[in-house]
């Protein structure tokens, strides 16, 4: 391949962030929500609104680790006809537009298993995907997708949680690439917020086990929270709060611009974290 491969875009992004001396901002949207075209318009506007890395949700009927906001987003997307092939197509169009922001796909294993693991890895790489976060594939199931992804050169980004103790962290860090995603609460997406002090301690604990950048997500909803977390983490992830505003587009209670304005305010929060 002549274009930058997945791991390069992510690595370069984190190197650039380190150079700038600031935390990165990861924004989550569900692919195809509320419909494929609107979703693509939102996605294309994210980098200009200050998003460093796009986490693109692959819709699934039974998202067992997600709260009501992201569940509803997935169902809206599926109802509008979104598929895994459609999600990959969105990435392809984004790259065809000349966009270079790293894209990490997030979701559940069954649609990928159904698509075929080898075919998926091939199509994801050629579309311009830079990493995978698969919620229901813990290290115990690495043979399914993590190891094939690693062999294909697509980073498999692992989730670490407050329940992942020091005894287990080495298992979780093995075969992890790109960055580590720290889930700051024991709970589902969009649930209550973590205490900043706890997050700071957790990030310190993770750093003893990995040199990879650490992104922190779950329960971060406001620019102020994003700023606080950004003091400790290498990147801050916001999902449900953005998705709720995308959801308003479905009932025409808002505009794409209003979503991007909110995203911009979060990006500003992250940017002022260490100033």
């Amino acid at each position: 391949m002549t274009e930058a491969s997945g791991s390069t875009r992510l690595t370069e992004k984190f190197a650039a962030l380190e150079e700038e001396g600031r935390a990165g901002f990861v924004a989550f949207i569900t692919a195809g929500d509320p419909d494929p075209e609107t979703s693509f318009t939102v996605m294309c506007g994210l980098p200009a609104a200050g998003v460093d890395i796009i986490e693109l949700g692959m819709p699934f009927t039974d998202p067992m680790a997600d709260g009501p906001s992201i569940q509803a987003a997935g169902l809206r997307a599926l109802k509008a006809g979104m598929t895994l092939a459609g999600t990959l197509d969105m990435v392809r169009r984004f790259r065809a537009d000349g966009q270079t922001a790293p894209i990490v796909l997030m979701g559940y294993f069954n649609p990928i298993y159904s698509y075929g693991v080898d075919r998926f890895l091939h199509d994801a790489l050629s579309a311009g995907v830079d990493g995978l976060i698969i919620v229901d594939l813990p290290p115990e199931e690495d043979a399914e997708l993590c190891l094939p992804a690693q062999a294909a050169g697509l980073p498999f980004i692992r989730l670490a949680t407050p329940t992942t103790d020091d005894g287990r962290l080495p298992t979780v860090m093995a075969n992890t690439a790109g960055f580590v995603y720290y889930v700051s609460i024991t709970g589902i997406t969009g649930a209550g917020s973590a205490m900043t002090a706890d997050v700071a301690a957790a990030v310190e604990r993770l750093r003893r086990h990995t040199d990879l950048p650490i992104a922190v997500g779950f329960g971060i909803k406001t620019p102020e929270q994003a700023a606080e977390i950004g003091q400790h983490a290498d990147a801050v992830v916001v999902g449900s709060a953005i998705v709720e505003r995308v959801g308003a587009l479905a009932s025409s209670n808002g505009s794409v611009q209003s979503v991007l304005d909110f995203v911009g305010s979060l990006a500003d929060g992250v940017r002022r974290a260490r100033t």
Binding site: D62, M64, A65, Q71, L84, N110, S114, T163
Partner: protein, 407 residues
């Protein structure tokens, strides 16, 4: 599949990673993974503990009323005019179904682990009632997740759970049935990992649940072995059980899996017919996939999205099946067939008038299959059917289907 290619034994699974062939496994969020490993460790220790086994035996005997009878259904046998039909009367258990066998085992394990709160999912409400019952018995707070649709069609069981002190929470997402109740229970668990034990009701979910539920339900098959030897001095020719997730079926089947002369049949819910898109027959109409912590057969579309199941029986209304069944299906050891809503309704009424037993709609599916095959079997053949639940909970739904208005 030829005999030579079959496994030497069908009773050795799962392997240490929780796999039955390619099925099973542990497909859960990282937050749950340490807890799943802890449950596995605690279960291994409990299995080896004489005190745990004695405690379970005690409650099975004195609280549930085990062993349940093995009853020769003489009038139905005469009615069909073929094989001798025995019912394993697990509907006579305390709480009215086989579900209590598993709940007692798991609640005793939860206590050993020092857990102070219980959650569960339920479809027909039989498992929910059994969970609420053991939680009352051991003074543990519990929350039962139930699909909004199921809450409507199983009102008596919802009220029972509340009487027993449980909190019943409606699952309002997706198809609002059993699979969505399981999603909600998993979301609760991920949020409350420290103090909460999840009593999964069927032989599915992440390892060690399929194995653990099977072991606790195997008391059914073990009793049948002893009872049929006493009555007939030989093993049965055929076992029949209904199957949704598959806990009553695996409980009856497992002790007989290595008996080559015992034919084993599981009856899935055919809904409006398996050639329609309204059924719950995951093995007959689905393909392999990953949901709720395990790889198994699932009803799904081309994109890997889970489809809604349909059955008149809320307890069978699930788009998946336990992983051990998926494996037994591929091994060809168990024959998986289906019966429609209509056939089950007919069997429900037939059993009531012929035997004076109102069965649950779930085992009515098993009886519907028995009705198809028993007449053509010789009179010296023996069928044992698991009558795994009683039909009190279903009379409102059945009345509605039959056009009878109840107050």
């Amino acid at each position: 599949m030829t005999a030579a290619l079959r496994a030497n034994t069908f009773r050795a699974g799962p392997d240490e990673d929780g796999h039955f062939g390619i099925f099973g496994g542990r497909y859960v969020a990282e937050t749950l993974m340490p807890l799943i490993l802890e449950v596995e460790k605690a279960y291994e220790a409990a299995k080896a503990s004489p005190a745990f086994k004695a405690e379970l035996r005690y409650y099975n005997a004195h609280y549930t009323g085990r062993p349940s009878p093995l009853y020769l259904a003489e009038r139905l046998t005469r009615h069909f005019g073929g094989a001798k039909i025995y019912f394993k009367r697990d509907e006579l258990n305390h709480t009215g179904s086989h579900k209590i066998n598993n709940c007692l085992g798991q609640v005793l394990l939860a206590r050993r682990m020092g857990k102070t709160r219980i959650i569960a999912e339920t479809g027909a409400g039989q498992h929910g009632v059994a969970v609420a019952t053991v939680c009352a018995l051991f003074d543990l707070p519990c929350t039962i997740y139930m699909g909004e649709v199921d809450i409507k069609r199983q009102q008596p069981n919802v009220f029972r759970m509340k009487l027993l002190g449980a909190e019943v929470k409606a699952a309002t997402s997706g198809s609002r049935t059993l699979k969505d109740a399981m999603n909600e229970a998993l979301r609760d668990w991920v949020t409350n990992v420290d103090d909460t034990f999840y009593i999964i009701g069927t032989a599915a979910g992440p390892h060690p649940y399929p194995e653990m539920v099977r072991d606790f339900q195997s008391v059914i098959g073990e009793e049948v072995r002893d009872q049929i030897m006493q009555r007939e001095c030989r093993l049965p020719d055929m076992l029949v059980a209904c199957i949704g997730g598959g806990s009553n079926a695996i409980g009856l089947f497992h002790p007989f899996l290595d008996e080559p002369d015992v034919e084993i049949v599981a009856v899935e819910a055919g809904g409006l017919g398996i050639d329609t898109d309204k059924h719950a027959a995951s093995l007959t109409g689905g393909r392999a996939g990953v949901l709720h912590g395990n790889r198994t057969y699932l009803l799904q579309d081309d994109d890997g999205q889970i489809q809604e199941a349909h059955s008149i029986s809320a307890g069978l209304d699930y788009p998946g099946i336990g992983p051990e069944h998926a494996w037994l299906h591929e091994q060809g050891r168990v024959d998986y067939v289906s019966a429609t809503d209509e056939e089950a309704l007919e069997a429900f009424q037939l059993c009531s008038v012929k035997e004076g037993i109102i069965p649950a709609l779930e085992p009515a599916h098993a009886l519907a299959h028995v009705a198809k095959i028993a007449p053509d079997m010789d009179r010296d053949k023996i069928i044992v059917m698991n009558l795994c639940g009683r039909g009190d909970k279903d009379i409102f739904a059945v009345a509605e289907r039959l056009g009878v208005a109840l107050q």
